[in-house]
């Protein structure tokens, strides 16, 4: 267990060095949201209708950014070989990486999501739920994305490949996350959607590390 905490702290510390870290993802998030009014028109009524959903779309895209370096850096400099031989099981290493990805990438994005949504015209009463759904959804996005990152180790087209592998798997969290906000905005019961979102995230966190570890072992073999 001690080794796990060491791994987690190492990953958190390294996240800032991973090609700009959360700042890059945040900038990408804001930049994507900036293009939306330019693409669909700046009329407030039209923007407000799509604001929460667009925030979620931009969130899913932004959470892809730092995935490329999640395993690749350790793979390239041989750290992953050492980790595979070390006393901490590779599954725990993968879990630490996914958790760190969530904390250093998903959490800042979750903080930015309400700001972006409100800037696009979402109502203020939606803010807590947008933050909550982005935070909970980030868990699923981090661990599902981690599977794609581990699988594309050793390929030459890391970034785009991860996006192609992972985006179809992002369908459930995007549906539940945006669905919760939409249900709340429409005066419907939003608890089931948020519950399903949390269930997806927890299931991804529970099962994802096994797939990630298997993919790492395969890449190292």
């Amino acid at each position: 267990m001690n080794g796990f905490w060491v791994m987690l702290r190492r990953e958190m510390a390294m996240a800032w060095g991973r090609g700009g870290g959360p700042l890059l993802a945040l900038t990408f998030f804001v930049a994507t949201a900036t293009l939306l009014p330019l693409a669909v028109g700046a009329s407030p009524a039209r923007l407000a209708a799509v604001a929460p959903g667009s925030a979620w779309l931009a969130l899913a895209l932004a959470s892809l950014l730092s995935l490329e370096r999640l395993f690749e850096r350790d793979y390239e400099d041989g750290t992953l070989d050492l980790l595979a031989l070390g006393p901490v099981p590779l599954e725990a290493v993968a879990f630490a990486k996914g958790l760190a990805q969530w904390l250093t990438n998903g959490a800042p994005l979750a903080l930015a999501a309400p700001v972006v949504a409100v800037a696009l015209g979402a109502e203020l009463r939606l803010v807590p739920l947008i933050f909550l759904s982005a935070l909970i959804g980030g868990l699923g996005l981090a661990f599902t994305g981690g599977i794609g990152a581990a699988l594309s180790l050793g390929s030459k087209r890391g970034g785009v490949l991860i996006a192609v592998l992972v985006l179809p798997l992002f369908a459930p969290p995007v549906i539940f996350g945006a669905g919760a906000i939409e249900a709340f905005a429409g005066g419907l019961d939003w608890h089931p959607a948020l519950g399903l979102l949390a269930a997806y995230g927890l299931a991804a966190a529970a099962l994802g590390p096994f797939a990630m570890a298997a993919a790492c072992r395969n890449a190292l073999s």
Binding site: G154, V164, A219
Partner: protein, 238 residues
């Protein structure tokens, strides 16, 4: 049967006559199915367009069936490390993607006269589209890694991840659909399907399955040959 056929030589001996035989069965079934497709009476609501159903519905069914085969082959490849299972997964994906694409295209062609639009974001169509993306992801991953064994294993892991995710995606898309558009579309064609329509549908479905089986065997055979050719080339060079 799988254990026996896992031996490449035995598989080659078996598929040598099985692949063409199943192919002939496929041709007969599909020919009969197509003949019935064009000879059944028109639907009282849909007119001639109902005939698209006999091409479309079996293709949609095969899209899922192929993914199940892909998942099965991937599982065998990961757990038992059969090289033939890797070849089977590799051979299966483009076929499944083809059926999925056929289902989407024929669905779109059917939707135009029936619903007045080429595409609707309804639950079934959306999840079939995601299925196509999963197939493409599988093939992209396999193509992106140079080492063949590693590529096959990584793709197998992805196939299993997709297999676990498919029901979740299906459920979430259904859930999303009820949130967005409550029953704006329903399938026409009457409450129950008349027997005259069931026959061509069943023939086409079995025909597609036989076609898939035959092509699958042919593709696995060519994989085995390709590996042997590579081996011979290495020997000659070494």
């Amino acid at each position: 049967m799988f254990q026996a056929l896992a031996n490449p030589q035995r598989f080659m001996d078996f598929s040598r006559w099985a692949a063409p035989l199943v192919g002939i069965i496929a041709v007969i079934l599909i020919a009969m199915g197509l003949w019935l497709t064009f000879s059944v009476p028109e639907d009282y609501q849909q007119g001639d367009t109902v005939r698209i159903m006999f091409i479309h519905v079996p293709a949609a069914y095969m899209a899922m069936f192929c993914y199940a085969c892909l998942g099965g082959a991937s599982f065998m490849g990961l757990v038992f490390r059969h090289s033939l299972a890797d070849a089977a997964g590799r051979a299966c994906a483009p076929l499944g993607a083809g059926f999925t694409f056929l289902a989407l295209v024929t669905g779109s062609l059917w939707g135009r006269p029936m619903w007045g639009t080429w595409w609707v974001w309804d639950a079934r169509m959306t999840s079939v589209l995601v299925l196509l993306l999963l197939y493409i992801g599988y093939m992209a991953l396999q193509a992106a890694i140079d080492d063949e064994v590693k590529a096959a294993r990584a793709a197998s892991i992805l196939a299993l991840v997709g297999l676990i995710n498919l029901p979740i995606i299906k459920f979430s898309v259904d859930w999303w659909n009820t949130l967005h558009q409550p029953a704006s579309i329903f399938r026409a064609g009457g409450p129950t399907m008349p027997a005259a329509y069931l026959w061509p549908l069943a023939l086409m479905a079995f025909g597609y399955m036989a076609l898939f089986g035959s092509l699958w065997m042919v593709r696995v055979r060519s994989e085995v040959w390709r590996k042997r050719a590579n081996g011979l080339a290495l020997q000659a060079a070494g």
